[in-house]
Symmetry: D3
Subunit: 68 residues, 6 copies
């Protein structure tokens, strides 16, 4: 499946922290920057997300702000 | 001002396209990935955004999905 | 690629309207409801979206509100 | 009150799971698809959300991606 | 209909600018602050939005960042 | 840093509730309205957010709906 989302950044999972219902997943990009995703615990289980996984951070263009 | 947003990715503006009310700004990250931001034309004018600008792509953690 | 997004609703494209930079795509779900997606013109071109296409409307759980 | 949100999908609550601050509400659409909403526990209490409730899943068009 | 959205700010429409597909609506809050909403032209037509209208700006808590 | 976000509402923190991974911060605007932000616990710690703080609620225009 190809996605309309303009931003699909490849990276490696470096941390997964599950909360009561919401988990935080940290993804390291090739350039060294870290992207944090706040997703449901269900999604973490569904994708069997764990440290070291090669993943893609998917972000809609309308969710990106610019600071200068 | 410090922001709560977990994702603040530094990069360089490589393209700015203005539409009728909405503009698309492309930002190149150090690792070579391109992030596209869909923001208002007003914002582009306010920040005087132009090719070559050093900027920050700001993204809330709850707006990041993960694909695997 | 499997996505963390909890909402992946299958449907059929019934309308595509392109604007200056932003397009509106209408997707009919099996139950008859229509979902409208506001995406970039670039995405419409990339996915060659057209009437009749079988597609998936992808929505993050944190972007769904409830009315009662 | 009429809302600008393009997507207002009627359905029935089939599950409510409260976390520490964030709850997940599952809504079944007429066609059988399930929509998951991640909302605050406060909102669940405010609306007295419970299984069997007839509700509306409200989603802004700019929060819908398309996969093909 | 009661909404789960934690933020429902009453105000008055002070400007409506329609683009090709996307419109910008400016809403003045009682304290004088201006809130800008980027919504579809369809929504502007549906709600017959015009200067002077008493409206509510609806914002999900997960879409609010904090700067300090 | 100047932000592209059209909505930057000044206010005072009147409540901070931390959950397992996600916190809710309530901000009182000058006109008396309360804005609730759902952000990560990490962000609360990073900004040392506490009652009485003068802060800014930052909201992208594409995340604002209108009700009438």
């Amino acid at each position: 499946m190809k996605l309309s989302a303009r931003n699909q950044l490849k990276g490696k999972v470096v941390d997964v922290v599950k909360g009561a219902t919401t988990a935080h997943v940290k993804i390291e990009l090739p350039g060294g920057a870290i992207v944090t995703a706040s997703i449901t615990n269900d999604a973490v289980a569904d994708l069997s997300l764990a440290k070291g996984d090669q993943v893609v951070a998917v972000i809609k263009a309308s969710d990106v702000m610019v600071g200068k």
